[in-house]
């Protein structure tokens, strides 16, 4: 363990892969201004600083330059300029990512997609929407609502997070247990490749002719190109939704109820669980009034045809009671549902009420291993004296342990980080994953060799090399060590149209 940690520290301190790149200077800014207009290019150091991190504030890096394109063609032009100079670039949506996937490069350009935020078209009969990448997740569902349709992936940040960012991260959400992840709901992508070509992957039908590049691109964390249009599937709004809140005296009893529900053949839209410490934090923050004295609460949401939901609700009530639930509440309408969800949705932020600082971990274990992993986490917590609050998507074994510490006390942060890493080791040990939905980004690339072998990572990077042989598209993310792509036949090196037309000179 100790030897490993030394190696990790060494990796973290190693300089990012050297790119023989051009400078992010006034000339480049002028070029970007020519493409996007002066209002959409940021060079002021104070303003640049506002983009220094995404939702994971532990990693910060002030971008060399920020551009805010308004069209796909502008994105392509920006990328072509970067490619011509081998300047690294990073795309950013709403900046809500939790793995530092949109961490900028000081020596690079940050391309902020927030000005491309329209729902271009909805085809209700085909159950498809065409949207721009900066559009927020929830606004797609809002736009589709009048057609009786919604966009199923619902990350907790759906009010602000962008669909482009969802594509990059293959975002899930509480309801992906039943409805699937972003990759199951994206059928076409217009992308700018890392050499600046504007092209379509997939055509919206959901049937790939040739390699499934839509599937391969989704979840690649912005390392294969920049999405400029997205075709998403829309899903009929369920006829009925009932949310149950069940209180148990212990996590063990709650976990047994989860296994029994899944074992009965019921597939709820969501099954969420919180432990006593997470409940305490939520009560302090939003007064969600969960049943008193609960060692664990389970939130089970059932959706589908009315008759089915009714029958499943009865079955879930029965199971929870049999497993020792001492109070069960049911919400039938939107307001009651919101009241139940308030505690769960506020849990991350609420922990700020009971701890000066905390780390949000994201790991996955097979559902049947939940109980033993939670026991191990609580044992680790007891051994180290570091408090851990547990909030998680119990139905799919996706843990979000919140590791609490006081950053004013020397050594506490390091100890918390170490414990957080040990939780990931537990996940790997039990056949799980180091990330279920937050992504690898910069934050977890050092853990990738614990989950995958060198050959696995090398093979994944063959895909990277196919798209981005120069390694300029969001470099330093996902993989701990970049692969040298070698000589690649047939890579296009098209001159900028203005160069080709003799309007400007590149040198």
């Amino acid at each position: 363990m100790d030897g490993n940690d030394d190696a990790i520290t060494a990796e973290r301190n190693a300089p990012a892969a050297a790119i023989d790149a051009g400078a992010v200077d006034a000339a480049l800014a002028a070029m970007m201004t020519g493409i996007c207009g002066a209002d959409n290019v940021i060079t002021d150091p104070q303003q640049l600083r506002t983009y220094e991190c995404d939702g994971l504030t532990a990693h910060r890096s002030v971008p060399g330059l920020v551009v805010l394109p308004q069209t796909a063609e502008q994105v392509a032009s920006i990328v072509r300029e970067c490619a011509a100079r081998q300047i690294p670039f990073v795309a950013r949506g709403s900046g809500t990512g939790l793995s530092g996937g949109a961490l900028p490069r000081t020596d690079g350009v940050l391309i902020v997609m927030s000005k491309m935020r329209s729902v271009i078209a909805i085809d209700p009969i085909s159950r498809r929407a065409i949207v721009e990448p900066g559009v927020t997740n929830l606004s797609v569902s809002k736009a589709a609502e009048s057609h009786g349709l919604f966009y199923a992936p619902d990350p907790s940040s759906q009010v602000v997070c962008s669909v482009g960012g969802n594509v990059a991260e293959n975002s899930g959400g509480a309801h992906c247990l039943k409805h699937g992840f972003t990759v199951h709901h994206v059928t076409g992508l217009q992308v700018v490749t890392p050499d600046g070509e504007l092209t379509w992957l997939g055509d919206g039908t959901g049937v790939a002719a040739g390699y499934d590049l839509v599937g391969a691109f989704t979840g690649s964390e912005g390392t294969l190109g920049i999405v400029t249009k997205i075709i998403v599937k829309l899903t009929p709004i369920p006829e009925a939704v009932i949310t149950l809140l069940a209180a148990f005296t212990s996590m063990g009893a709650g976990g047994a109820a989860v296994s029994a529900i899944i074992g009965s053949g019921i597939l709820p839209g969501a099954i969420e669980m919180m432990d006593a410490l997470a409940i305490e934090a939520a009560e302090a923050a939003v007064h969600c009034r969960y049943p008193e004295g609960a060692g664990a609460v389970l939130i089970v949401e059932l959706d589908g045809p009315a008759g089915d939901v009714e029958a499943q609700t009865a079955a879930v009530r029965e199971i929870c009671t049999a497993e020792g639930a001492y109070e069960i509440r049911a919400a039938q309408d939107a307001a009651e549902r919101a009241a139940i969800w308030t505690g769960r949705k506020s849990a991350f932020a609420a922990v700020g009420r009971i701890s000066p600082a905390y780390i949000v971990q994201d790991g996955v274990v097979p559902r049947t291993a939940l109980e033993s992993v939670l026991d191990r986490i609580s044992a680790l917590s007891a051994e180290t004296g570091i408090r851990v609050a547990n909030v998680f998507h119990a139905g799919d074994g996706n843990l979000h342990p919140l590791v609490l510490f006081d950053d004013r006390r020397p050594g506490e942060q390091e100890a918390a980080e170490k414990l957080s890493g040990m939780i990931l080791d537990l996940c790997i040990e039990h056949g799980g994953s180091i990330t279920g939905e937050h992504g690898v980004g910069v934050d977890k690339s050092r853990y990738m060799p614990r989950m995958f072998g060198a050959d696995d990572l090398d093979t994944m990077q063959l895909l990277r090399c196919a798209f981005d042989p120069g390694g300029i598209c969001n470099p330093g993310k996902v993989f701990p060590t970049p692969r040298l792509c070698g000589e690649v036949p047939g890579v296009r090196r098209a001159p900028h149209p203005l160069v080709a037309a003799g309007v400007i000179d590149q040198f």
Partner: protein
């Protein structure tokens, strides 16, 4: 390649290597050797040896889809997956299974059924080889009616182990459904037709096996009214598992079928509501019959389950296609008077935005009339994919003309829209005489990136060379 002796390197790498016989031809291309590794490690040694010898390699499972796509330009070595036949782990509590690539889908279904679970894939079965093997189904991304609700292999695959053309073993994903660590190589290999490497193991998410499944179907006289039914079913909140369409010939009515699955009470209630919906939404009345997955009727004498007295002429009963323990023995609900599509004809696979269904059906018929081709059309209309079957006896030039004209017609539908294409056609398989007249893959978007992917994974172009789109 006329091979009489087995190269020492191959024999050293794999215990089971023989000279290929007539039966080992791949889509008419003579094979050199056939090797059957029994583990991922043995497959890796075999492919490493093949790389040193510069052999062109084609993977073979049950052989039921080897005629899909183009024939390989060369086939020095067939890697037969029949010894990769183990279900490695069925974690029933986690609804996950890990299998080797050579496991037959039917055999896997039988294993899963013992725990009341299934892999929700029901690809069309070949005449003699069942539904094929896990590896073949992934490599062709084959799906059947259940595609409407559960998707294709790419949607159910959560982990994959492959052997690269250079013999390196790589895996991605894992044993948990929710997992975003690293690139998802499973997506890339699903539908790659063996052109990137050899699939040796797969991990799938599973679903509970429904206690009851029911097909309801009704006939419509024209594409527009059939499409209206498909749209009404698809937009309903009744959770259909499949929405199929069957149009055996230009003069026949169009059959629309919907599959409802679940426990008995749920299916009974939803069937009744689905009938109401169709009665209100269309001129006709659907009929149906319920059966359990083992084929036994649920309530053979119940008036609810039998044919209503109000059935109008043209409606028909459709039996449940679910066999005990296995995926559907037929591609889709059996159609009146038409047999299972056979491999020796031509199959054109049309993918489209569902809203275009009626227009697409008209476009297929228009191209048929112009070329004297009366095709059978069927498939997952609700999911935007239809197969068009042309019999082997039809003049190859006419079939080629039909396919080309169909592509032109579909391209015209897309002109001027917000997206580059709303419908396209790929020839899944065709006799050699047809392939001479038309490119089976047709125009494929982002081909440059696909070539780049191929160059990275298989720089010497030895894996099923030429079988895939754009000569990949």
């Amino acid at each position: 390649m006329a091979a009489t002796t087995i190269p020492v390197e191959l024999a050293a790498a794999c215990k089971d290597v023989v000279a290929a016989g007539d039966a080992d031809d791949v889509a008419g291309v003579r094979a050199g050797y056939v090797a059957a590794p029994a583990s991922t490690a043995e497959a890796a040694a075999l492919l490493a040896a093949a790389a040193r010898l510069g052999l062109a390699v084609v993977a073979r499972g049950s052989g039921s889809r080897l005629h899909w796509g183009n024939p390989p330009a060369r086939c020095d070595l067939v890697v037969d997956t029949r010894r990769l036949d183990r279900v490695l782990e069925h974690a029933a509590g986690d609804l996950v299974v890990q299998v080797q690539a050579g496991v037959a889908l039917d055999d896997l279904a039988a294993v899963l059924a013992t725990a009341g679970q299934r892999l929700a894939l029901d690809p069309p079965a070949g005449a003699a080889n069942g539904a094929g093997t896990v590896g073949g189904v992934i490599a062709t991304n084959s799906a059947g009616p259940l595609r409407f609700r559960f998707g294709a292999p790419r949607d159910l695959l959560i982990g994959i182990t492959v052997v690269r053309p250079d013999g390196v073993v790589a895996r991605s994903g894992g044993k948990v459904v929710k997992n975003v660590a690293g690139y998802d190589l499973g997506k890339l290999f699903a539908g790659s037709y063996g052109t990137l490497g050899l699939i040796t193991e797969a991990i799938f998410r599973l679903h509970p096996r429904p206690a009851v499944s029911t097909w309801l179907s009704l006939d419509r006289p024209d594409p527009e009214s059939a499409a209206a039914v498909v749209h009404a079913i698809s937009a309903s909140p009744l959770w259909p598992s499949a929405v199929e369409l069957d149009w055996p010939s230009a003069g026949a009515p169009l059959g629309v079928s919907v599959l409802l699955e679940g426990d008995e009470a749920s299916v009974t209630a939803r069937s009744a509501r689905m009938r109401d919906l169709l009665r209100r939404g269309t001129a006709g009345l659907p009929s149906g019959q319920r059966k359990r997955p083992d084929g036994s009727p649920v309530h053979p004498t119940s008036a609810v389950e039998g044919v209503d007295s109000g059935v109008v002429p043209g409606d028909r009963e459709v039996a449940d296609g679910g066999a005990a323990g296995g995926p559907f023995p037929l591609a889709r609900p059996p159609a009146d008077g038409r047999g299972r599509p056979e491999a020796n004809g031509t199959c054109v696979r049309v993918a489209f935005w569902v809203g275009q269904l009626a227009t697409v059906l008209r476009t297929i018929r228009t191209a048929g009339v112009a070329n004297g081709v009366d095709a059978a059309i069927g498939g997952s209309a609700g999911a935007g994919i239809l197969d068009v079957w042309v019999a082997a006896e039809v003049d190859p030039a006419a079939v080629g003309g039909f396919a080309s004209e169909l592509r032109a017609g579909l391209a015209a539908l897309s002109a001027g829209g917000a997206v580059p294409s709303v419908a396209s056609a790929v020839i899944a398989w065709a006799p050699p005489q047809v392939r001479e007249t038309v490119d089976v893959w047709g125009p494929v978007p982002s081909l440059r990136l696909m070539r780049s992917v191929k160059d990275q994974f298989d720089p010497a172009h030895r894996m099923a060379p030429g079988r895939f789109a754009g000569g990949i």
